[in-house]
Symmetry: C2
Subunit: 355 residues, 2 copies
DNA sequence: ATGAAAGCGCTAACAC
DNA sequence: GTGTTAGCGCTTTCAT
């Protein structure tokens, strides 16, 4: 396919007038081996001139290492609408590259058929695995973890019997949801609706629902199932769900949306109905996507840090692979409530700072 | 690292009572080789029972193939704010998986140091390369293409002397920008502003600027450089740019935004100024991101098809690798103008259909 | 129809 | 210090 003849370590050795061993020793800077400075130079020069790049397959065949990290994204279809994943990807890629790893992206559609990433592991394509949005009923992952394969979860999910073997980055979704809901309660709201994701979806979104209910309960507000609606991650689903909520009176006076995209859709529905935000209905979102400050009105929301989560996941994983397990098995990032105007706590003024 | 002993083709052969050759023959379904049905069965069973997965490194070492596609994203920081890339990723991943390829994601920060993906190629980590957002001054890629390495560009960029060697998916940005601008002109606007990206950025955005200018010129409207502002891909930059535009009178009566995210930011600035959309200022975007129908008001915009572009890129690339070059070297996707309400052509009514 | 043997490009234990 | 040699696990002629 390529016109150029392949450059192997043999060619380099020839040109430098040494053996392939020496080439390997020099290029890999093997510690504890002293090579004459002049030889060293010659090898480096030869490699440079020939544009030598070691064959990854050969190297990994003998070393057992691939210098590649697997990143599994189940529910890949969310890539289309969710703003969390790309930012995570960015952070993950950043650190991976810094540490000399490639990223193999595995987008999984159907997680119930979980052979997808197992093949990566068994086929020795990757040195470690970061998993996003895994399903509760995924059976392959626990086995992998139990066997000691380096795995980092993004977003934690409790696994009976495996708690002390799991490495994870996460945010405390329950606490954040409580904070968001309590904020609305403190503003005087009692009819607070919630739009979340289909029940069988992420564990993370169940957290938000749980936090929402706990906050209501703590405030002595009775929980009305009719005020909880299910959508997916899209603005369209938020729009639909909000329309349903607005179909019967009394309206809720506040909404805690499962994410910012849903919030955007819901806000469109509210505007359409001729109601004002936050005067008629206050809105709080979740994610703090980059466009949140520019919504109408600017969205009050919970800030999670996808970029940071990506960075940390890559750091933990590379550490794990290289035998430096992170100090803490579970890193829980803060998820502060960013108060803008959609909740009614602030009056209209300059756009709040972005991120 | 893994507790389990590695399963090699040897183990399978042992268990099935055949040689490794036979195992390879059976598992790879090598054409032109007849193997007794019973032997075949035994091998398959043994492999199944042992959970055998061929070692990728070994296989690629001997075959020279990796079954891996490289996807290079330069300007990786755009992952954070741009909605185009994740959708593209989704489409690309979808088709890649279908065709039996893995995806190696290479996020490049600094494209002027373009060793990044060259290592992938020379190190034989990938069978082909898809490149998004490459820079005009990238010097490695032409060399790769010239050598016959399978490369597909996402978004075309003219390369003198290489036109007949390039494979690309693209949309006609100039035509789309003309359509968008002309639409505004037809609505009676003559003071039409444009917010685009920094000049040294993508070729694609230069297209939009060019189309904008051509449309103005064709309508006999003088081009005023003061009405063109530069931002990056973010809503924040759109907000800032619009504020600048609103700083001096007369205001533009219409805006053609370089992308939807910028449009969102600009719309926030317009609202903040107490002006109405579209009555005071009409807005047209570019991209048709999934949330466009839910903006306030719903955004008139140009629909490009990132998912489709991703699919096609993966199709072209796998075809190229397997010796089935696509019929057309350059596939140019339509980019229709989706008219919603922000341009003022439609009056307020139900939210337009999503995508 | 099946098996023996060579070799892909590299690293690392062992000689010299 | 540097070269020789033996694999890593697989595919693939070439014999049988």
């Amino acid at each position: 396919m390529t016109g150029k003849p392949r450059v192997t370590s043999y060619q380099v050795a020839q040109r430098a007038g040494v053996s392939r061993t020496t080439v390997s020793l020099v290029l890999n800077e093997v510690p504890g081996v002293n090579i004459r400075e002049e030889t060293r130079r010659r090898v480096l020069r030869a490699a440079e001139e020939l544009g030598y790049v070691p064959n990854a397959a050969a190297r990994s065949l003998v070393s057992g290492q691939t210098r590649t990290l697997g990143l599994v994204i189940s529910h890949a279809e969310h890539l289309q609408v969710d703003a969390f994943i790309p930012q995570l990807l960015y952070g993950f890629g950043l650190v991976s590259r810094q540490r000399g790893y490639r990223v193999l992206l595995e987008t999984v559609e159907d997680v119930t058929k979980p052979d997808a990433y197992t093949e990566l592991v068994r086929g020795n394509r990757i040195d470690g695995l970061a998993v996003l949005n895994f399903r509760c009923d995924d059976s392959q992952l626990p086995e992998l973890i139990r066997r000691g394969f380096p795995v980092v979860l993004i977003g934690f999910h409790p696994w009976p019997g495996l708690e002390d073997k799991i490495f994870a980055v996460e945010t405390d979704g329950v606490a954040a949801a409580i904070r968001a809901t309590r904020h609305l309660i403190a503003l005087g709201h009692r009819r607070i609706a919630h739009i979340t994701f289909s029940p069988e979806n992420y564990y993370a979104t169940q957290d938000r629902l749980r936090g929402y209910r706990q906050a209501l309960q703590a405030a002595g507000i009775e929980w009305d199932p009719a005020w909880v609606r299910y959508g997916n991650f899209s603005a369209a689903s938020g729009y639909q769900a909000m329309r349903q909520l607005l179909r019967r009176k009394p309206y809720p006076t506040a909404l805690f949306a499962g994410n910012d995209t849903i919030a955007l859709g819901a806000m469109a529905a509210i505007h359409r109905k001729g109601l004002r935000i936050p005067e008629d209905i206050a809105v709080v979102g979740y994610d703090d996507i980059p466009t949140a400050p520019y919504m109408v009105p600017p969205l009050t929301t919970v800030r999670i840090s996808p970029l940071e989560q990506g960075r940390i996941a890559a750091e933990m994983l590379s550490g794990l692979i290289e035998g430096n397990p992170p100090q803490h098995r579970r890193i829980c990032l803060p998820a502060p409530l960013i108060v803008r105007e959609s909740c009614g706590a602030k009056r209209q003024r300059a756009v709040s700072a972005g991120r």
